[in-house]
Structures are given as structure tokens and as C-alpha cells.
């Protein structure tokens, strides 16, 4: 983790001429420069990282975005794109002397095409609204990051966000059919279309998915929707050990069942979530699996039955089914609050995102616990078990230097171990600033050099979110 000092550095001033031009191009309410207005844009959801921007600008359309990028280029000012600032790797944290380009005011849903099952949205639309709009038309937008009630679709695409339904439905990438992107030179390109198949030219759309604002600014997103599953069933299984829970996951997948959701919570997380959400979670259990199957009613009934049997065979203490759709929603909502709820315990909450092949889950979990004990740091773990995606969360205090050093040491070992199992540093939160130092080890020099070459081609001046992902 890259822990910059908790005291933000003095604010390098933006060129006067840049500010003058910016003010001339946008209404007063769309350009923020006062200290009190800027402080709240100095951080995202990542712990212990802060940096004041020089200004924040809110364009209303792609032309406005292009205007900002052109001015930035003329005056050599770095640009950091931002959705809702819920990122967990520091992607939208300002770089010194930058302008933050916030897409929150570009928040219209432009089209819902029920013939082609697509939805066209501006980047500032909140993920939840996309889900709700599809839902109201009998359709389904599956990616549901824990932050969905406030994250933007532009931010989701830029981080290739996952969610609770990744196991069966995949991640944001699997739903992006097209993107409108403004490039560093201010030109606008369309990548993709409504066709189910398209092999004309390189697949550049995918290049921008997960690019963390370093290659261009996304100004429109064309999304693929699915028919709404006719039935859903949620199950809760509790365990006396994390191992048993991990074994259950492997057993379910080995039985060729792909549930829509296979979420894991350890006891610490369970207790924090229950303290907030009060949905009646069994706080005495060491580990809990939240499982959901969806689809045709008959298939759901059959799968639920088989899953229940597998859980019991893997020595679950108890298996309970949600009594109603309402209860199922309450449970999923409670699970989404896990990360924030853990902040109840200690002042600083650092969330990791290590992901391993699913067969290695039990080993990874064991290693995390051993490592935490060895370094005398507190860790709570939850995650998208079905995806092999774990969120070991360090509960610490950023003002305690000694403890922060131990946290960093433990974190490094966990990353190394995940890589040794054929895993990745980050399954869904991105590299940003927080994982930048570890990326070379995972990718190796040739791959990293390829990344750099792409960056140089698309952003020769290095003004788009510089210093994120790699230097």
C-alpha cells in the first residue's frame, strides 16, 4: 500500500490562465476552487490517502468534457476523472496540481431499448438507478457492487466492478456493449454498438474497461440487459470454521452448480453487519455463507435443495432459507454494508482484494489468519467466495506508525502468497495508488512495458490520471 502522509501536501496552484479559461467555459456552479469546496474531493473510499485538487469541474456533456481536456492539454494540467469517489484503490484521488473532472452532473439515462435489451446511460448515472430502470421494464442488470446505491456506472466501467452476482453473471465488462470516450486530445470516439457480434477492428472497448481513468474519459455507456429471472431463493449456512465454509464452496462448484451468489462472512464481519443492519444474522457462527440461486422456478427449487444437502454434508451448523423476497433483499443489502460496517471496530479500515483460483480458497484463508496473528494485526475477512475473491480487511489506526508498518508487512506477504497460488492482487477494486507498488511483481517487465506503450500512445503528455496503476 502506498501510504502518503495523512497531512495533505500544500496545494500547488493551478495556472491562472487555465482557471480563467475554465471559468469562461463553464457556469459558476460548475467550477469549484474554494478551499472548503475542494477538501471533500481530496479522498475516495480508500483509507489513509489524501491529496487536495487544484479545482473541480462538472461538465454536462461530452463537449464539456472535451473542452476540459483541451484546456488541460494547453496548460499542461493533469486531469483526474471522478464518479462518486467510492473507489477502493485511490483511483479518483487527486494528483498534486490537478483538476478533478467530476461526471456526477452527467446523470441522464438516454435510452432503454426493450427490443434489443440495451440501456444507454451517461457516466454519472448511479448503478442502482440502472438496476431499477431495467427492473421496472422486466429486465435485469446483474452487476451489483456493494456500493451500488451511490457508485456511478462510469466508475463501475473504469474499475470493471464486480459484485455479489459475479459467479454466475460475471462483472461489469460482461455487460458493456459500447462506450463513448473522449480522448486526451479532446476528440470523441465510439467503441462498440448494439450488435451481439462485431469483429470490425481491434476490440478497443475492452481496453477502456478497467482503465481507471488513465486512457480517456467515458462519456456514454451502452449496457446489455437480461430478462429478469423468474425466481430466486436465498440460503444462509453457518459453520464452526472458515475451512468448512471454504470446502462447501468447492463442493458446490464441483457438483456443477453455479449459484448466482456465494458470499462469505467471518465472525467479526458478521457481528459488525448485524450491529448495523439488525437482520437476525447468527452472530455466534465462525463463518457464514450467503447463497442465492435464481432462474426458472423449477431449477431454483432443485438447486436450492441440492445446495442445502451439500452444506449439511460439509458440516454446516445450520441452513436457513429466506422466507420472502423481502427478507432476501434485506440480507443482500446487509451484506453490501460489510466493508463500511467493519469501520465500527477501529479508526482505520484497509480493505484488500486478493483473488485466487477457487480451488485454493481454503489455503488462502488459512494463510491470511496465520499471517495476521504472526504480525499481531487485526483482520476481518469477507468476500465473494464463489469468485475466489477475498476481502481481508485490516482493522487498524493510521496514526499508529508501528502498527501501520506491521499491517504493510502482513499485506505484502498476503499478496505474495496469493500470487504464488496463481492469483491476482486485485479482483475488482483496481490498482490505482494503493496497489501500484505490487503490480510489477504480478505482471513482470514485458507486460508492464506493453501497458506503458499503450498509455504513451493514447496519452502522450501523460495528463490523464497520471501516476495511477504504474509510474
Amino acid at each position: 500500500m502506498n501510504s502518503t502522509s495523512p497531512q495533505p501536501a500544500a496545494r500547488p496552484a493551478l495556472p491562472e490562465l487555465f482557471l480563467r479559461d475554465l471559468r469562461a467555459a463553464f457556469p459558476e456552479s460548475a467550477v469549484l476552487t474554494r478551499h472548503e469546496d475542494l477538501i471533500p474531493y481530496g479522498f475516495d473510499g480508500t483509507a489513509a490517502l489524501r491529496q487536495l485538487p487544484g479545482a473541480v469541474v462538472f461538465p454536462r456533456d461530452a463537449a464539456g468534457v472535451a473542452a476540459v481536456l483541451r484546456l488541460a492539454r494547453t496548460h499542461r494540467v493533469p486531469v483526474v476523472s471522478r464518479g462518486s469517489g467510492t473507489g477502493l484503490s485511490g483511483g479518483s484521488i487527486p494528483v498534486p496540481g490537478c483538476v478533478v473532472l467530476c461526471l456526477g452532473d452527467m446523470n441522464r439515462i438516454l435510452e432503454l431499448d426493450t427490443k434489443n435489451l440495451t440501456l444507454l446511460a451517461e457516466p454519472g448515472v448511479i448503478t442502482q438507478r440502472i438496476y431499477d430502470t431495467a427492473d421496472a421494464a422486466g429486465l435485469f442488470y446483474p452487476p451489483d457492487p456493494g456500493s451500488m446505491k451511490i457508485s456511478t456506472i462510469g466508475g463501475n466501467v473504469s474499475e470493471n466492478a464486480g459484485g455479489l452476482r459475479g459467479l454466475k453473471y460475471g462483472v461489469t465488462r460482461n455487460y458493456v456493449m459500447g462506450l463513448e470516450v473522449v480522448l486526451a486530445d479532446g476528440s470523441t470516439v465510439w467503441l462498440g454498438n448494439k450488435c451481439v457480434k462485431d469483429v470490425a477492428g481491434y476490440n478497443l472497448r475492452d481496453l477502456f474497461i478497467g482503465s481507471e481513468g488513465t486512457l480517456g474519459v467515458i462519456t456514454k455507456v451502452l449496457l446489455r440487459l437480461l430478462p429478469k429471472p423468474a425466481a430466486r431463493q436465498t440460503l444462509l449456512a453457518t459453520y464452526a470454521s472458515m475451512d468448512a465454509a471454504a470446502e462447501t464452496v468447492s463442493a458446490i462448484i464441483a457438483a456443477k452448480i453455479i449459484p448466482c451468489t456465494l458470499e462469505f462472512l467471518d465472525q467479526r464481519t458478521l457481528r459488525c453487519v448485524e450491529a448495523f443492519a439488525k437482520v437476525g444474522l447468527p452472530t455466534e457462527a465462525e463463518a457464514l455463507l450467503l447463497i442465492e440461486t435464481d432462474g426458472h422456478p423449477a431449477a431454483v427449487a432443485d438447486e436450492a435443495e441440492r445446495i442445502e444437502q451439500i452444506c449439511r454434508a460439509q458440516s454446516a451448523l445450520a441452513v436457513r432459507r429466506a422466507a420472502s423476497a423481502d427478507e432476501a433483499t434485506r440480507l443482500a443489502t446487509a451484506r453490501r454494508s460489510a466493508f463500511s460496517a467493519l469501520a465500527r471496530l477501529r479508526p482505520t479500515t484497509i480493505l484488500e482484494d486478493a483473488t485466487v483460483p477457487r480451488s485454493e480458497l481454503a489455503k488462502m484463508i488459512r494463510f491470511i489468519n496465520e499471517t495476521a496473528a504472526r504480525h499481531q494485526v487485526e483482520v476481518a475477512t469477507f468476500g465473494h467466495f464463489g469468485d475466489g475473491n477475498l476481502h481481508p480487511t485490516f482493522l487498524t489506526d493510521e496514526r499508529n506508525q508501528a502498527e501501520m508498518h506491521r499491517v504493510e508487512a502482513a499485506m505484502k506477504e498476503i499478496f505474495d502468497y496469493a500470487l504464488s497460488l496463481g492469483g491476482t492482487l486485485t479482483g475488482e477494486h483496481g490498482v490505482g495508488l494503493a496497489k501500484k507498488a505490487f503490480l510489477p511483481r504480478q505482471l513482470g517487465d514485458p507486460t508492464l512495458e506493453l501497458l506503458r506503450a499503450i498509455k504513451r500512445t493514447l496519452d502522450p503528455e501523460g495528463l490523464l490520471n497520471p501516476g495511477k496503476i504504474f509510474d
Partner: protein, 459 residues
């Protein structure tokens, strides 16, 4: 609202935010989960107007990176204090404490000071709302003004237009003052006709008492009907919520002491509040007086025994009325419920009022969208931030109208007035204006109808 004791002391510079336990500020891990529930953020889309933004500003002050200045002052008075963010926050951030400390620091520094603001604050916070008799005398005058027809005369002749801008806008919002205040309607001690199961004290409030003494009477009625002996001390002081909310912690503490002097918490099973805003503050006397050795222990008992009326009724298993309030009505009456911010977010009482409404015969409860959103009343917010208040009022009234309800139930005097005025304005001429009623008044009416139906005397 809570106001932790540590905000009494201050660091060497005297800065209250700096002396606040830093972990209270650090508790916010800036996840943003509170943003979509914050009305001011939804209105502007700017982080500074969000809970997480405001906390960041407070933290910058505590860290010495930002001065307490007029911009910060305005920000903290733009915040509604509606506490929707505390319900949304999974991390358990103590926003009420931060909010009150910030406002107290703004007042201490006087960054918003102007002659006019000073005199208005002095008049309201220090003079009127600390002296129950003066408040009543003013209320009486206002009643005379309304009852004598002078009000409508001067409205018709345009006399009210002579009032300065903002005051003229407010004039139609002044509550309809009741002919009788609680002292006349409620005896100091009333006993149920049946067996006495509990002994409770009823807080009559100040605005509640002037404008809604009928709610106080209804509160006593339903308590009696449920086997409670009711003690109601005369001429009660204001609970101090207005003061704590507006940065005047000193007066808030003084008023809390007076309340505890008037009602010995050891002498009753519960202390009952029927106004969401007051109850939210009254519950936290333990925090407020923690630094006062003479009162701390009693304040703890006080807070432990404080109950919102709906909460208390649900707790003791209230009796379900058997006859509809309006026996003649052929169709069920459609009621919707607007949650007072400080009842649902401040006191987490949300289920119980609905339980009561659902228990009313001949009443159908229709949920309205955004029931937990602020209506814009927010204490004196509609005076200080009329535009945002009006926007919230319109939004709320729209949702209420969409339910087709003829009655809006709500349990806070501020909300009551805000809804009443909004509905009056939004209802087309000739159409019936939905009425605004406290859930407890509906329950009392149902008990009364039941008594009439069975020929029993109302207990």
C-alpha cells in the same frame, strides 16, 4: 440529539472541534453510503453538501488545515440536521455529536455574527424559549390575533405585506394557536378508571403545547386507556433541543436541569414525549449532563426511562380499538404516514407508529415514497433556508398526494405545520385538503368512538 460531554471542554485554542475525541471524526471512512440519503447532497450534487463532505471539513478544522469561517458556518446551517445520514451509515458515525459540536463552535467563534442574527437568536433562544410563561403569553396574543379576525383582516387588506420580506412569507406559517393550553386540559395527576399498571410522566413541549395541546390531551387519553397513571407537571420548560441544535449548548444544559427538577425520573416508570424532535434530544440528557456531578446520575435514569409515546404503547402492548373513529364512513379511510426525521432517524422509532395506525379499525395505511425524507421544516430551517425548505416541502407533498390519502399522520409539530401549509398550497381550489393528524390523536378518537359505541364512559 446527543451532545457528548467532551464537547464541554475545549483545547488550548478553545476550538470545540479540535477538542473532540478524534476517533469520532476518524469513524467516517468516507465510503459514501450516506450520500444518496442526504437531501442537501441530492439537491446540489456537491460533496461539500454531503455528510461525508461536512465531516471532512470538520476533520480539516480539527487538523488545523481549515479555519472556522463563514463558509463553514453557512455549510453547517445548510445541513438540515435531519440525521438521515446516521440511519444510512454502516460505520456508526456519531453525526449528531459532530453536528452539534460544529454548530457550537461556529457560535463560539461568531463567524456568522450580524446584529440582526444576534438579536433574533437572543430573542428566540435566550428569551422566549427559556421562559414558558412568556412563550405562553406570546401564544395567547397570537391566538387573540387569529381568533379576533384581525389576522384575516390584515391579510385581506394586505397589511401583512408591510412585514419585512422573509417574515411576511412566514406569517401564514404561524401555527394556529389552540384556545386552551395543556394546563387547562390536563390535570396534574390523572388516574385510569381500571387498574393502574404503570405510572408515567407526560412532557407537554412548548410549541406542541401552544399549537397542539389537543395532541397532549390525546396522549393522556390513550395512556389512561392503557392502564397508565399520568403525571403532568405544570408550565414545563422547553426541552432545549432548539438550543442544542443551534449551537447554544449552555442554555440547552440549563433547560435540561430544569426538566429534571420538574420530573423526578425515579418517581415514574417512563417519561413520555410525543414530539419527534423533542424526544430525540430528551433521550440524550445523559450525554448532555454527563459533566455535571449534581445531575449526571439522574440524567442517566432520565434517558433510560424516556420513551416516545408510540414506542411506549408498543412496549406495553396497547389495546386495539374495536370501533372505527368515523362509524358512518362507508369506505376505509386512507392514511399515509410521514416519519419525523428525529423520530425515525434520531430515535429509530419507525415500526411502532405504523403498528398503531394499522390497529385502527376502518383505516387503510398507504405507504408514501420517501417517507423518511425530511419535509423541510427541520426546526427553524424553513426560516433560515427558505429555498431548500420549499423544495423539500414540494417533494414531500407530491409523494403524499400520490397515495391518495385523505389523512397524513405525523408525530412532530414542525412537520405537522410544514405539511399542512404545503398541502393547503398544493391542493387545487375546491378539492378537499388532506388533513394532518398525530397518530395518537387518531388512536384517541378510535378509543372514544369505541366508548360511544359500547356506551361506556371513556377511560
Amino acid at each position: 440529539m446527543s451532545s457528548a460531554n467532551h464537547s464541554t471542554q475545549s483545547d488550548a485554542s478553545g476550538n470545540l472541534l479540535r477538542s473532540l475525541d478524534y476517533s469520532v471524526l476518524q469513524q467516517c471512512m468516507h465510503c459514501g453510503m450516506c450520500l444518496p440519503t442526504c437531501p442537501t447532497y441530492v439537491e446540489t450534487g456537491r460533496e461539500r453538501h454531503s455528510p461525508r463532505g461536512r465531516i471532512a471539513l470538520m476533520r480539516a478544522i480539527a487538523d488545523g488545515e481549515l479555519e472556522v469561517n463563514a463558509n463553514f458556518g453557512e455549510e453547517m446551517y445548510y445541513c438540515l440536521g435531519c440525521l438521515a445520514c446516521t440511519t444510512a451509515c454502516p460505520a456508526g458515525v456519531d453525526y449528531p455529536n459532530l453536528f452539534e459540536t460544529a454548530r457550537a463552535e461556529i457560535e463560539r467563534k461568531g463567524v456568522l455574527d450580524s446584529r440582526k442574527r444576534r438579536s433574533v437568536r437572543w430573542f428566540a433562544l435566550r428569551l422566549v424559549f427559556t421562559r414558558p410563561r412568556l412563550l405562553r403569553a406570546l401564544g395567547r396574543l397570537l391566538w387573540l390575533w387569529q381568533a379576533s379576525g384581525l389576522q384575516s383582516l390584515s391579510r385581506r387588506t394586505g397589511l401583512t405585506r408591510l412585514l419585512p420580506g422573509q417574515l411576511a412569507d412566514l406569517e401564514p406559517q404561524t401555527p394556529r394557536i389552540q384556545r386552551h393550553f395543556s394546563d387547562t386540559l390536563i390535570a396534574p395527576v390523572e388516574r385510569p378508571t381500571g387498574p393502574t399498571r404503570h405510572r408515567v410522566a407526560v412532557l407537554t413541549g412548548c410549541v406542541q403545547d401552544l399549537a397542539f395541546s389537543d395532541v397532549n390531551r390525546a396522549t393522556v387519553e390513550v395512556l389512561l386507556a392503557n392502564g397508565c397513571e399520568v403525571v403532568t407537571p405544570r408550565a414545563q420548560a422547553c426541552c432545549g433541543s432548539l438550543h442544542a441544535h443551534n449551537g447554544d449548548t449552555t442554555t440547552a444544559r440549563e433547560l435540561a436541569r430544569r426538566q429534571i427538577d420538574a420530573i423526578d425520573p425515579d418517581s415514574v416508570d417512563a417519561i413520555i414525549s410525543n414530539a419527534g424532535g423533542c424526544g430525540s434530544h430528551l433521550r440524550h440528557y445523559d450525554h448532555l449532563l454527563a459533566g455535571d456531578p449534581a445531575y449526571a446520575a439522574r440524567a442517566v435514569t432520565w434517558s433510560r426511562k424516556l420513551r416516545d409515546i408510540h414506542e411506549w404503547l408498543a412496549e406495553i402492548g396497547f389495546r386495539r380499538p374495536t370501533a372505527p373513529a368515523h362509524a358512518a364512513a362507508p369506505e376505509p379511510q386512507r392514511v399515509t404516514y410521514h416519519e419525523s426525521c428525529h423520530l425515525c432517524h434520531g430515535q429509530k422509532v419507525s415500526r411502532q407508529p405504523r403498528e398503531i395506525l394499522r390497529a385502527l379499525p376502518g383505516v387503510e395505511l398507504r405507504e408514501c415514497a420517501e417517507a423518511t425524507w425530511c419535509c423541510g421544516s427541520a426546526g427553524i430551517y424553513n426560516i433560515t433556508q427558505p429555498e431548500t425548505a420549499a423544495w423539500l416541502q414540494t417533494r414531500k407533498v407530491g409523494h403524499v398526494q400520490a397515495t391518495g390519502a385523505s389523512i397524513v399522520a405525523t408525530a412532530n409539530p414542525g412537520c405537522h405545520l410544514q405539511l399542512e401549509n404545503g398541502l393547503k398550497r398544493a391542493t387545487p381550489a375546491g378539492a378537499a385538503v388532506p388533513s394532518v393528524v398525530h397518530p395518537i390523536v387518531l388512536l384517541a378518537q378510535a378509543y372514544a368512538a369505541e366508548a360511544r359505541a359500547t356506551g361506556r364512559a371513556s377511560t
